[in-house]
């Protein structure tokens, strides 16, 4: 079992809500890092206040943390990295979540975009955008998604995480497996999947679930975050059980490892991180959406706490090596 030392909540969006940032009221979801010489840029998705009909939208922005002390905020985005999509487009009501990677002197972002539907609350697709200013602002490649729906993946396609291993791009993502009906409301069940690409734009999908179910036949998996260390690929992800997660508030962090990125052995116990006992802790009810990264010889995990990141994210430091 891995051992994490929790460093506590390091970013709460409510501390920064105000006239200057009308797009930011609460939530800082799905953290993803981009490392600079002096700081670590953490992308997250946030929401302005709900509209008069109680509907929300989501934006992606970033906060820069001091590289020498990640608990210190040194800069916060002045505006979202992308405007919402045009009318009728897949990302008209939100960009959430976003994952980034450096490609030569650009930064490429892979993001889930969502729009509202009628019989289900949302429909999600994965889009791509490029930045020429070190990841401050991005321009879409085009108005549509780079991963279209297919006969094999007919429902939501979301949660992209972009990686580069062995001269190939890997996109880990989740695909809807079924829309369930729980207490009269539609709930999505997601499974973790993968696609590969030589150029980061044209993708070949594996069309297989990577991670076997362990919690429930209709469990929902998210945030497939992969890192290579000590000769193996390690995946931290999160998940929940659609039939009761609204009551239990349970979202958990799981773990799997692989030699080849295709065959994964699940071992959730090894993840080594769970909710805090302290009833006042930001992660007392849930831990979710992990992102693991290495920095200056240490391994860190950013993750969401209660209410799926409504009050921001926290940081943990691995004790020992990721092996």
């Amino acid at each position: 079992m891995l051992k994490w030392k929790k460093l506590g909540q390091i970013f709460d969006p409510r501390d920064y809500a105000g006239d200057e940032r009308p797009w930011l009221a609460e939530y800082a979801q799905a953290p993803a890092t981009l490392i600079f010489d002096d700081f670590v840029r953490v992308y997250f998705s946030c929401r302005p206040p709900r509209d008069e009909n109680g509907q929300f939208v989501s934006y992606t922005a970033f906060v820069d943390l001091d590289r020498k002390d990640l608990r210190k905020v040194v800069n916060l985005a002045k505006k979202p990295i992308l405007e919402l999509g045009k009318r009728g487009c897949f990302d008209e009501f939100g960009t959430y979540p976003t994952s980034v990677i450096r490609v030569d002197d650009e930064v490429w972002a892979y993001y889930a975009g969502w729009t509202r539907a009628v019989t289900v609350p949302f429909v999600v697709g994965v889009g791509m955008a490029k930045s020429k200013d070190d990841g401050e602002t991005f321009e879409r490649l085009g108005d549509g998604p780079i991963l279209p729906y297919t006969p094999e993946e007919p429902f939501t396609i979301s949660g992209p995480k972009i990686r580069r291993f062995n001269d190939k791009y890997y996109l880990f993502y989740v695909a809807g497996n079924a829309w369930l009906e729980i207490d009269g409301r539609p709930e999505i069940s997601h499974r973790i999947r993968m696609a590969t690409s030589d150029n980061g734009i044209d993708w070949m999908r594996q069309n297989e679930d990577l991670i076997a179910n362990a919690w429930d036949d209709h469990e929902s998996q998210a945030s497939p975050d992969v890192i290579f260390a000590n000769g193996r690929y390690h995946m931290f992800f999160c998940g929940w059980v659609p039939k009761n997660f609204r009551e239990t508030k349970a979202r958990r962090i799981g773990y799997a490892s692989s030699e080849d990125l295709i065959h994964w052995t699940r071992d959730d116990v090894k993840a080594g991180i769970t909710i805090s006992d302290d009833a006042k802790a930001f992660d007392h009810e849930m831990v979710a959406y992990p992102h693991v990264f290495e920095l200056d010889g240490k391994t860190y995990m950013l993750y969401l706490g209660n209410a799926v990141g409504r009050y921001g994210f926290g940081l943990a430091e691995l004790e020992g090596e990721l092996a």
Binding site: F90, V118, W179
Partner: protein
Amino acid sequence: MRWQKLGQIFRFIDSPFASRFVSHAQSPQALVLDDRIRVYFSTRLEDKPGQFVSHVQYVDYDFNFKQVLGYSDHEVIALGTRGTFDEHGIFPLSPTPVGDKVYGYTNGIARRVSVAVETGVGFAVSDDNGQTFTKYGAGPLLSATTYEPFLVGDPFVREFDGAFHMYYLYGKKWSEATDEHAPERVYKIGHAVSPDGIAWTKENKSIIPDSLNEDECQALPTVIEIDGKYHMYFCYRSMVGFRDGSGQAYRIGYAYSDDLVTWTRDDAVAGIELSDTGWDSEMMCYPNIFACHDSIYLLYNGNNFGRDGFGVAKLING
């Protein structure tokens, strides 16, 4: 091209479908079988007040369209389950025979909130001469991609020169809502190729130039080869005012090509115009061109987008 109109051959209200469906027989598409011409069309059920879903049915004719030989009285192809691309209707189904099977390419419809609908191209296969189709997965074969961001639909597929060619439409824009109208769509005709009819490569561009203006909507392409030359019929209209006559209602357009890729538009050559009076005097839309033995026919809808049925014309001079 010169056409002889054979008139409205299908009247919804006089058909057995009138007892099972509400209205419409849209986008007639022919499948020529050994002993009959099977014509698929989409007809409507009302699922909520003022909201409709399209279902595919068919009617069988003799080779001269003189006699009805039969009707579908069963589900030809199922609509999608909750959350899928074709949950709220299939309109149209475009059949093409491949070996001893019939491939059916569909335009699937699902409702949205900020715009009326989103669409995608579905695929289904029939092993029983087109009586029923089994879907190939729950998702679409083609749907929105980077440069075709919405409303991919209206597929028409044929094998030409050893490859499968799909002509289809894709969305270019949704207009903002105004006091007069809800968001309106603009769509253009695109082209994709495939070695097997399943894995497609989109050309990602509009292949038919506009004749009205850049907001022209082009729909339902249908292509036939005659003596080594390819002819495309389609329908087009203006973005707004196409329902009430204040703009351009659907008309039949025409283009030709030698290579299936580069098309020259020349609507004047279409050879088929509105009638002075009657069922196709205000609008003509959703053409389907096909050969049957030595004749070439054009099925199409008339006024009100095919609310009352469809008609056919016969080519008398290519």
